[in-house]
Amino acid sequence: MANPDISITSLILCFLLLTIPLVISYRMKLHIAWRTIYSVTRMTVQLFLAGIFLTFIFDLNSWILNLVWVGVMISFASYTAIKSADLNVKKLFMPIILAIAFSNLAVLLYLNKFVINLENLLDARYLIPIAGMLLGNTLRGNVVGIGDFYSDIKRNENRYLYSLSLGAGMYEAVLPYLRKSLKTAVKPTLANIASVGIVALPGMMTGQILGGASPLVAIKYQIAIMIAIYVSTLLSTTLGILTSFRTTFDEYGLVNKELYEKNA
């Protein structure tokens, strides 16, 4: 059932398509020609390396190596997530990495065990691509959620302090901000879930269908993946924010000022 390989010649034909953006860039003076070449080259090199690497990992299929690789993916994902949230990376790194790791692994293993019914839960062919899809999505939720949470408290500092002065415990005082940021974090995922199948076929499903799977099998995988993404996004963002309190709030219930100093 495997789909036909794309030969190097065919790939070159594909690159030929890029002359269109290059011509548009030149005629309209968009100045994105170098950027296009840079991005495409970088993508090609990265994907070729990934291809070689994944082939190697799939052949070995050692569960330790698979887990280590997922660990590397998670660390990289967490780092990028905090970096783009304009917050102090050092203070948030541990809580976020633990939250993302725990939520994604828990959902992933549940999926592999009970939904896909794998015998080897840590099978590279399933673990790595699914982890990649979950991470890509939970990452976005975390960036939005955590960034939103702390910037909202900072923006409404007087309101926050006032609730503390009324006798609210720290958890009681942050609850409105927590609710709001969690809703913001999962909103796009929920919207995305509701529109799947109408607007576009998701990447994974497309891949499976191209790979020769029946659409009926492909949609079932897609349903599983969408639910997994939603669950792990909400779970990891909740855990991420909650576990970050220990390092971000002081004993007075105030947010450490250094948190807002990027790269401090």
Partner: protein, 258 residues
């Protein structure tokens, strides 16, 4: 230039403190106490001290806002703090609530130096009304519900008392369903006062709570607070309405007491 200014300010504040101390000593003589050295000891003697600042100072980004401030508020006392805007009066309240940490000196609440634990205690026992009332967004009723869901306030939910206070301060029932962010400054202030009173605490930090009210309402609010002899009031206000019998005026950042 900058240094000179700071020095001037320091000198100015020092004078004030001396003046304040002097004021306290006179008061002491009136009460027949033999103590004349410092008000700090005076507090310890009278026993029922609620709030005490001992040479407290704070600076933001190297700039001194308050320095060497000493004051003592006893149970039942009504103290009106006056002084130019931006001199750091509100900061004095915030230090007590643990929102700002003094860079020098010490604060005491009921004789205990204010650390994190005491700050949480202050927040549970003292009613604070800030000058920029920001309850949040949404219907007032929901925001009140949220406040009465906090653990120390759960028993304080009392619709009848809420009604009678609303009547007293001329707030219509329909204000409860209005969104807080759309209320006028005067309405927000009254909501803040209302909450402070609903919490049934007996120590109040009132930061410009009558500034947006008309003279009739100002009078009502001041009447309400002053009629309770056992309440301890620490007030920041530019309103003349507060200058009544039994209210002690403390001027900060000025050479003389007016």
């Amino acid at each position: 230039m900058q240094d000179e200014k700071t020095m001037d300010k320091l000198a100015e504040d020092k004078t004030t403190v001396n003046e304040l101390a002097g004021d306290k000593i006179i008061k002491n003589e009136l009460t027949g106490s033999e103590l004349t050295e410092s008000k700090i000891t005076e507090c310890e003697l009278t026993g029922d001290e609620i709030i005490r600042y001992e040479n407290a100072g704070i600076s933001f980004g190297g700039k001194e806002v308050i320095s060497d401030f000493s004051l003592c508020v006893l149970r039942g006392e009504k103290i009106l703090l006056r002084g130019k805007s931006g001199i750091g009066k509100s900061t004095l309240f915030k230090m007590l609530l643990g929102f700002e940490k003094p860079s020098e000196g010490t604060l005491y609440y009921k004789g205990k130096p204010v650390n994190a634990q005491v700050a949480w205690e202050v927040r549970r026992e003292v009613s604070y009304v800030s000058q920029d009332m920001d309850l949040g967004e949404g219907p007032v009723k929901n925001l009140l519900d949220e406040i009465f869901s906090y653990r120390p306030n759960r028993e304080k939910r009392n619709p009848e008392r809420l009604n009678s206070l609303m009547k007293e301060f001329e707030l219509d029932q329909d204000i409860l369903i209005k969104n807080f962010e759309n209320l006028s400054g005067g309405e927000k202030q009254r909501i803040g006062i209302l909450i402070a009173l609903m919490l049934e605490r007996d120590v109040f930090l009132l930061d410009e709570v009558t500034s947006a009210l008309d003279s009739e309402l100002k009078k009502k609010v001041v009447d309400h607070f002053l009629k309770h002899k056992n309440w301890t009031l620490f007030i920041i206000s530019h309103d003349r309405e507060w200058e009544r019998d039994g209210v002690e005026i403390v001027e900060i950042g000025k050479d003389s007491l007016s």
